[in-house]
């Protein structure tokens, strides 16, 4: 399928004398989901209407694949638009409507056979619920030939079940179409988007991390921040403002001051964990979570490594026990979504006085209001979830859970121990009475809301741990040991890269005085893969996660800096070499700040001439090796400088073997001590037939 690019710039919109949008630039490719966030009145819907061509504007330029297009030629052919309100004709049945939007008979039959559409074919749109209608509208738009779909508030006003279905629908079509989505339910947008733009004062600001939404005041401070157990016990909500349910998913206890493990975006990119805010392939290895909150927690855990031994050991032991025990966390995703929706619905509390509660219930027995349904259904689901959770934790306790897990379970029980709902939660399963409903509702959404939030956070954390435990079993990962040695050290047996299908493992050790490893080897011998494996093992052990090795022991460090896939920075006008120089400077500054670092350089100074590269490499490696407390792994093809480094006792030499067998290079991918002088570059070039092709072209 051909890829298309939608670009919009110079958009200027003034409404009522106020500049709503000024000089916006926005782009979207097919296969990409762009999320638009912003407060009320910041121009999100206006921007979508401008793109669709139904909003007049004095200035705008919209290009498809670089070609300017007038509004009329965009609609339907290039862009489809889902407005905030329903747009389907009320006097047509769904059966009549489908052929209009899906002219292809085979596709139309597929749409009609859709499980969520089939029961309603004879109905008119007025007979559908809000969620069903929204689902149908999105489904129809997706069948139009337009490669770009603009969705204005697709999730608003519909129940979580349909929100989930819409997300699934978007996921299904994201490979073929480009989406621009805006909604006030930002959780849905964050879940589904590849990129986020925040509209603020007429400008579109790119958001790289969701925490920036707090900094820019779009969500209350602390929404994405961690809340520790102590805070929950004190009754402090997210950020201490008492706001509840904005999005408390994925909370992780914050690090104590001075315990951060420093890592930067380049390192995340090199290790394939995160790239430009997206989750990378290594993240996806662990991403076997069952809930959205679990996914967010997993991301937060992986984004926040630390060197607090007790925390890392507790996490490691819990995951290890889950992996060994082979038990499954039984969570119903739809039930959790219902609970989250109930907690953030904003509907008034159930009447507390008996008479009022009885009248309220009777009135709703005659004609049930959506509010009554949301609250009662939400309470029942929350009670069922908690009962189930307590039952499961009891099984764990009986099964000999480790101390760290027992501590968390006790904290969980303590959160409801003094509450008025304890008797209800621990009673055998039976329908709740009206007064029990009222009591639970008041606890869940008022007096005990912070306790419940913490309980859900714990549940999400366990979901993430179970996912990691599954990954550990699937990819044969080992659990790290943390050394007490005062000197920096790492010891690996059977270290491999988890993304390789048939990896060759290596044993490796660094400790004592020799803190710098000079790695050489021919092209394609496995240097970069080994360095990435090392970086990943160091990183994952500082998250408390299992490591791709047979055994792994490490001392605790203050940070990791890797430089494997460094590129130039054209936007800042930095050449490749200058970017490398800046990177070395960053390393030196980080070591000055943090002292105990692991630093990995793959092919240092490849962006300059051989003479400068060898001189610079020699000086830098020699200089780095003199810094005690940190570990350095440097690979290079300039083996000539090895002679100049041999005098330094802090440097040891390792290389990857390779041999020639019948004119074909053979690699063992095994690391051994020494220096490799093998050169395979020209041979690889020859074997690929490039030189011959060039000769032919000349002729």
């Amino acid at each position: 399928m051909k890829e298309h690019l939608l670009e919009a710039d110079s958009i200027l919109v003034e409404l009522g004398g106020r500049t709503v949008l000024s000089d916006i630039y926005l782009q979207c490719r097919t296969g990409e989901v762009v999320g638009l966030l912003g407060r009320n009145g910041t121009g999100k819907s206006t921007l979508l209407k401008v793109l669709f061509g139904t909003q007049d504007t004095p200035d705008r330029s919209i290009r498809i694949d670089g070609q300017h297009r007038p509004a009329l030629s965009l609609r339907g052919r290039w862009i489809a638009y889902l407005p905030q309100h329903s747009f389907l004709p009320e006097n047509l049945s769904i059966l009549q409507m489908i052929p209009l939007y899906v002219p292809d008979r085979r596709l139309a039959r597929e749409v009609m056979a859709n499980d969520r559409v089939r029961p309603h074919l004879r109905k008119r749109t007025t007979a559908l619920s809000g969620g069903e209608l929204r689902y149908l509208e999105v489904l129809l738009l997706l069948h139009l030939p337009a490669p770009f779909i603009l969705l204005d508030e697709p999730f608003s006003g519909i129940e979580p079940l349909f929100q989930d279905r819409l997300v699934q629908l978007i996921d299904e079509y994201r490979g073929r179409k480009g989406f621009i989505i805006t909604d006030h339910l930002y959780q849905g947008i964050l879940q589904v988007s590849d990129r986020i733009l925040l509209l603020e004062e007429g400008r579109a600001i790119g958001i790289r991390h969701k925490e920036e939404l707090e900094v820019r005041g779009y969500v209350p401070k602390g929404t994405f921040e961690a809340r520790d157990g102590a805070a929950a016990k004190r009754g402090l909500g997210a950020g201490g403002r008492g706001n509840f349910g904005a999005d408390g998913r994925g909370a992780v206890p914050p690090l104590e001051p001075g315990e951060e493990f420093e890592v930067d975006r380049q390192t995340w990119k090199d290790l394939d964990l995160f790239d430009h805010g997206r989750r990378g392939p290594v993240f996806e290895l662990f991403n076997k979570v069952k809930t959205t909150g679990g996914g967010d927690t997993l991301e937060r855990l992986l984004r926040h490594p630390c060197n607090q031994r007790s925390l890392l050991e507790a996490r490691r032991d819990t995951i290890g026990w889950f992996a060994e025990n082979g038990t499954e966390l039984r969570i119903n995703r739809e039930q959790l979504n219902t609970v989250e929706h109930y907690l953030s619905c904003g509907i008034g509390l159930f009447p507390r006085v008996y008479f009022d509660a009885a009248v309220y219930t009777l009135r709703n027995l005659v004609k049930e209001s959506p509010q009554y349904y949301t609250v009662t259904h939400g309470v029942r689901q929350t009670v069922s979830l908690l009962r189930h959770l307590f039952h499961q934790t009891q099984e764990w306790m009986e099964g000999g859970a480790p101390g760290a897990l027992v501590g968390t379970v006790l904290e969980l029980l303590e959160l409801v121990f003094d509450s008025r709902v304890k008797a209800i939660l621990f009673a055998p399963e039976r329908p709740l009475t009206t007064m029990e409903l009222a009591r639970c509702d008041h606890f869940f959404r008022e007096s005990g809301k912070h306790s419940l939030r913490r309980m859900l956070d714990i549940l999400y954390e366990w979901d993430a741990y179970f996912a990691v435990a599954q990954a550990a079993a699937q990819y044969d990962l080992c659990f790290p040991l943390f050394s007490n040695s005062p000197a920096p050290m790492v010891r690996a047996q059977g270290l491999f890269h988890p993304l390789l299908s048939n990896p060759v493992s290596n044993d490796y050790q660094m400790s004592g005085e020799a803190n710098c490893c000079f790695i050489s080897g021919a092209n394609m011998a496995g240097k970069s893969t080994f360095l990435k494996s090392m970086g990943l093992a160091v990183y994952l052990s500082h998250v408390g996660f299992p490591v791709p090795a047979r055994s792994w022991e490490t001392s605790l460090f203050n940070g990791l800096i890797t430089t494997v896939n460094l590129s130039d920075n054209i936007s800042q006008g930095h050449s490749h070499f200058y970017t490398e120089v800046r990177r070395v400077r960053e390393v030196v500054l980080a070591i000055r700040r943090k002292k105990r670092m692991v630093v990995i350089f793959d092919e240092l100074f490849r962006g300059t001439n051989v003479k400068d590269a060898s001189d610079a490499s020699l000086r830098v490696i020699d200089g780095l090796a003199g810094i005690s407390g940190s570990l350095f792994l440097v690979s290079t093809h300039i083996v000539e400088i090895a002679a100049g480094l041999q005098h330094n006792p802090n440097i040891f030499f390792a290389c990857f073997e390779s041999t020639m067998e019948g004119g074909v290079p053979w690699y063992s991918y095994k690391l051994r001590s020494g220096i490799s002088n093998e050169r395979m570059g020209m041979l690889i070039l020859k074997n690929e037939g490039i030189l011959e092709m060039l000769e032919e072209l000349k002729g």
Partner: protein, 102 residues
């Protein structure tokens, strides 16, 4: 896609027609009271006041449904032109019937 657009356009015209017919009928009744020909007044009203009022009421009551047509690549102007053409054909038909079956 063209067939689909024509079908969608006809659907729009069908939506406008009841109000147009009703308005034109009422205007014709008033016209007859003043001694004007029913058929001629009806035909004229179909392409003038009736057409205008039906478009106006559609805009007021179902304005949000225009996006249904926009997504098919049909502009509001094209819809109005299609509706006018239909009204014109209808008016011509009424006149034809009136003149031949007097």
């Amino acid at each position: 896609m063209l067939t689909v657009r024509i079908k969608a356009c006809l659907h729009y015209c069908k939506d406008l027609l009841p109000i147009n017919l009703l308005t034109s009928f009422l205007i014709s009744l008033v016209g007859t009271a003043y001694g004007l020909s029913f058929g001629k007044t009806f035909s004229l009203s179909l392409v003038t006041a009736g057409a205008f009022l039906s478009s106006y009421f559609y805009e007021r009551r179902r304005g949000h449904q225009y996006y249904f047509f926009y997504n098919l690549g049909i502009s509001r102007r094209a819809l109005h032109a299609g509706a006018f053409l239909t009204d014109l054909l209808l008016a011509a038909g009424v006149l034809l019937v009136k003149n031949n079956f007097r």
